[in-house]
Symmetry: C2
DNA sequence: ATCAATTGCGTTATGCTATAACGTGTGGCA
DNA sequence: TGCCACACGTTATAGCATAACGCAATTGAT
């Protein structure tokens, strides 16, 4: 239900991320969209902010870049819980992972500290199967 | 056994982090050390790189800043496994957490994807007990 | 002892990431 | 009609990080 109400800029940025084969930085997106009229970083960042808010994309903190959400069911995009990312340092591929047990474990950990969780970032850097095969 | 062999710059940066009551950005460290002769970002970044390598400090990816490692036993600093950070968005306090079960869970997750883990980042943003009490 | 390799250091310059601040246009709605 | 919220465009600036150069000190093998 979110896809229809995206603005032109938001759609362009989302498409760029969907067509990419890995995470993109804001400035890389900007370059890809210059032909579509993009001139300034803010045009990208504003779109990214909204897309993050809608849950349609993710931000990878450890590399200052963004990926389209792999989750196909955009109906309940807002509640697919904690996401862990496996990021291959060779090919750049990103795999999105969800795990109840881990989520549970994090809840317990935070609880021990009486910490109120707002957002959780889990990023695993390493080498994917293909690139390990060498 | 690492502390003795630190260079002057490395010691200064580590001290700055130890005396801080929260994470510091590289440029904040630079400002704190101007009186000690620091003039350029690279002086800070080079020290930070080494301290990270020695396991004496951590980098918080989600806020581009650095904290001294809370682990007291620097003897085996290199193998205290995965660390999760609880970062309070109100007061900036950072709590370091270690959990076997979660580590195990992440190993399983990575294993499923045949992913070879090099480094794992876990950062929980939210509000600490003090700041939640409000 | 000497040469080569390594490591840390200082400096200048540059590149990448992100946001502030201002003004415009548009659509909804009381 | 007038107000409000929101997306947009533009310029400027702030914040984070590294490239590339040259020098000095240390180590360690010959």
């Amino acid at each position: 239900m979110a896809a229809q109400q995206l603005t032109k800029n938001q759609s362009l940025v989302l498409d760029a991320l969907h067509h990419a084969d890995g995470p993109l930085s804001a400035y890389t997106i900007l370059d890809k969209l210059r032909d579509h009229g993009f001139r300034a970083p803010l045009q990208v960042y504003r779109a990214l902010d909204k897309l993050l808010e809608f849950g349609l994309i993710h931000r990878l903190e450890s590399m200052n870049s963004f990926v389209a959400c792999a989750h196909p069911d955009h109906q309940h995009h807002h509640d697919h819980g904690v996401t862990a990312f496996a990021i291959c340092e060779d090919c750049g591929q990103v795999t999105e992972m969800h795990d109840e047990a881990m989520e549970e474990r994090l809840t317990v950990l935070a609880g021990k500290q009486h910490f109120k969780t707002e957002k959780t970032t889990i990023e695993i850097r390493g080498h994917c199967q293909n690139c390990t095969a060498e």
